[in-house]
């Protein structure tokens, strides 16, 4: 099907095949579509066997980092300890809205994936941490979990297997940083969402101090299809010359584009065709100028750079950016890149948990400078200051929020230098016109001359 528009013929809909189909939301509807067969199959297998299938399938984390899922699961051994699974449904990366649709349209698909993964990592309890703003997804997921308990799919004797699997929905309360896995664990425990220093890694000491696996919604929703159809089936999606990136991936497309929405393609799909063919290209009468292909934390590309990219982990890396979460943000010729980059830095300044000084100070300082330049009060020295702050914000903090704020500034300054220079020229012209108001904190006019 597809939502909000029909699937394009060049898509490979697996996770999105029931988007827009309200019947798939109910237990009866999900079962009629083959739902819970994979879980039934998995519960008859040894957990390590499931770990092996997922490892062989090449599935990598779809939340942004791309860590091999089967490998992550294999860190969980039958050691007799209490284990936990946490499903990361705190989807908050600007540009990304795929997990929202998975939960809205196929809530049982996620329940099945979570139950299957919990069993595969020797956990009896799983928590699905959903961002607080996602009221409809929360409602759909709660309804699906209740149905699954009532039908004996969850609980003390999951699907008659004799195994206990409990799933609980946990609502966040507004904090981008809680999508970072250790911050998510803190938040779930009833703490402020500050990321934790690693090590210890979650597989050693995670939620409530116990071995924990954290997976993204899309990753977990893919697992039942892999168990059901096998690793070889999953590997058919992808380009022949890149075995490192296989399977299908949901891309959310937004901004200045003809057909915004979610698209599911085989990894390795050519981005040029994706942008112009599937998504319909620029709005009428306009032209695309820039693209952020993997959520707001990845480097910005010019249209030309993006058009040569292949849509997988290595393909995006080859053009100097990242696949990230698959949130594609499109900017057209009407957009002021300086203003939009300033808006992004403001997002990170707002969302910094403030525990590392480089991030707390750096995101705020960067935002002040970016907003000043954007308002036409910048100086050319500001560029060096921005780059120097960015340098000091990267790779020096507990998590990568700080790096994510620096990324659009550094790539934007490099690729859209002309627009930055034009803003400085506005500032210079103001110097030539005495009497114009100067905002508080604006640099000395003498130094700008």
């Amino acid at each position: 099907m597809g939502y909000p528009h029909k699937s394009h013929e060049r898509e490979s809909p697996v996770l999105s095949q029931y988007f827009g189909d309200p019947e798939a939301r109910t237990l009866a509807g999900w079962r009629a579509r083959g739902g819970y067969e994979a879980l039934q199959k998995a519960l008859a297998m040894d957990p390590q066997e499931i770990q092996t299938i997922v490892k062989d399938s090449g599935l990598r984390g779809r939340g942004g980092a791309g860590f091999p899922t089967g490998l992550k699961w294999s860190f969980m051994k039958p050691d007799g300890k209490t284990h936990y699974l946490a499903c990361n449904a705190d989807e908050s990366e600007p540009g990304t809205f795929k997990d929202r649709e998975i939960m809205r349209w196929t809530p049982h698909g996620l329940v099945e994936g979570v139950a299957l993964a919990a069993y595969a990592i020797y956990a009896e309890t799983a928590y699905i941490y959903i961002r607080g703003e996602f009221t409809e997804p929360i409602m759909r997921m709660e309804a699906a979990v209740q149905e699954a308990y009532a039908a004996g799919i969850l609980g003390a004797n999951a699907l008659g297997s004799g195994k206990r699997i409990d799933i609980h929905i946990h609502r966040g309360a507004g904090a981008y940083i809680c999508g970072e896995e250790t911050a998510l664990m803190n938040s779930l425990e009833g703490r402020r969402g500050n990321p934790r220093i690693k090590p210890p890694f979650p597989a050693v000491a995670g939620l409530f101090g116990k071995p924990t696996t954290i997976n993204n919604v899309e990753t977990l929703a893919a697992a039942p299809y892999i168990v059901k159809h096998g690793a070889e089936w999953y590997k058919q999606f992808g380009r022949a010359d890149n075995p490192k990136s296989v399977g299908t991936k949901l891309f959310s497309v937004c901004g200045n584009i003809s057909r915004p929405g979610n698209y599911e393609v085989a990894l390795g799909f050519p981005f040029k065709d994706f942008l112009h063919d599937l998504c319909g290209g620029a709005l009428p009468g306009r032209s695309i100028k820039a693209v952020i292909p993997g959520g707001s934390s990845v480097p910005i590309l010019t249209l030309e750079e993006s058009e040569s990219a292949l849509m997988d982990y290595e393909g995006f890396a080859a053009v100097g950016t990242l696949l990230g979460s698959g949130g594609v943000i499109v900017f057209d010729d009407k957009q002021d890149m300086v203003k939009q980059i300033a808006r992004l830095t403001r997002f990170y300044a707002h969302e910094s948990c403030a525990q590392c000084s480089q991030c707390r100070e750096g995101t705020a300082w960067t935002t002040r400078i970016m907003e000043r330049i954007s308002a036409g009060y910048g100086t050319s020295e500001d560029f060096d200051t921005l780059l120097s702050i960015a340098e000091n914000m990267s790779g020096k903090t507990i998590c990568v929020l700080s790096d994510s704020c620096a990324t659009p500034v550094v790539s934007g300054l490099k690729k859209f230098r002309g627009e930055f220079e034009a803003k400085i020229q506005i500032s210079r012209n103001k110097v030539a016109m005495p009497g114009l108001p100067t905002p508080p904190g604006a640099p000395s006019r003498a130094s700008a001359a």
């Binding site: 909000p4 209490t82 989807e91 908050s92 990366e93 600007p94 540009g95 990304t96 809205f97 929202r100 961002r131 607080g132 703003e133 996602f134 009221t135 409809e136 409990d166 609980h168 946990h170 609502r171 966040g172 309360a173 507004g174 904090a175 981008y176 938040s187 779930l188 425990e189 009833g190 703490r191 402020r192 969402g193 409530f208 959310s252 497309v253 937004c254 901004g255 200045n256 915004p260 929405g261 979610n262 707001s296 949130g327 943000i329 900017f331 057209d332 957009q335 939009q340 808006r343 992004l344 997002f347 707002h350 969302e351 948990c353």
Partner: protein, 182 residues
């Protein structure tokens, strides 16, 4: 088990959403709500993990989370009031002050911003009479704020009114959105 709130003789008064800070706190967790909290607590190995859900219940019932609400939750979960306040103030969705009957959040982060979200904000500020972000209109009906990424970027501009999402709002569509509110 920590002490439960004394259920003021069953004479639980409905507290309007817009009360002053110095009004004595009427316990939230009595009867069914206390049972609900205990059910939630049974899902976690620690009492503290029920903190976010407990705060949600307080806000759902009272419209915001007062000092009294924090104190009550702290008592039930064996936490200090200062700790609870530290958590409440970390998350953007808990209101530490009363807000308008219709709490309107407009996403203006980059993906929505490039689709004209700022014009949507201005239209809401004008038509609700709020005038300024974060201010509640004189009649107590509306509070409008800008919010960071609502995770519905393909449906620019998404807004949230209390717990409900409205997608693809344009400046021209604002009057219709407001007309549909009770």
């Amino acid at each position: 088990m920590s002490h439960g709130p004394s259920a003021s003789g069953g004479a639980l008064q409905a507290t309007p959403a817009h009360t002053h800070h110095d009004v004595p706190h009427v316990p939230v967790f009595v009867g069914e709500r206390l049972t609900e909290l205990h059910t939630i607590m049974s899902r976690y190995p620690s009492k503290m993990a029920a903190l976010l859900p407990a705060l949600w219940i307080v806000q759902d019932v009272r419209g915001w989370v007062s000092e009294g609400g924090m104190k009550e939750v702290a008592g039930l979960l064996a936490l200090t009031q200062a700790y609870v306040k530290g958590v409440v103030s970390f998350y953007t969705m808990y209101h530490q002050h009363p807000v308008g009957k219709h709490f309107i959040q407009v996403c203006t982060t980059t993906p929505c911003n490039v689709c004209g979200a700022e014009d949507v904000v201005h239209a809401f500020l004008q038509q609700t009479g709020c005038g300024e972000l974060g201010q509640t209109s004189a009649d107590g009906r509306y509070t409008v704020i800008e919010v960071e990424c609502l995770g519905a970027c393909g449906f620019a501009t998404p807004i949230m009114i209390n717990n409900a999402f409205v997608e693809s709002v344009t400046p021209e569509g604002v009057s219709r959105v407001l007309a549909e509110l009770d």
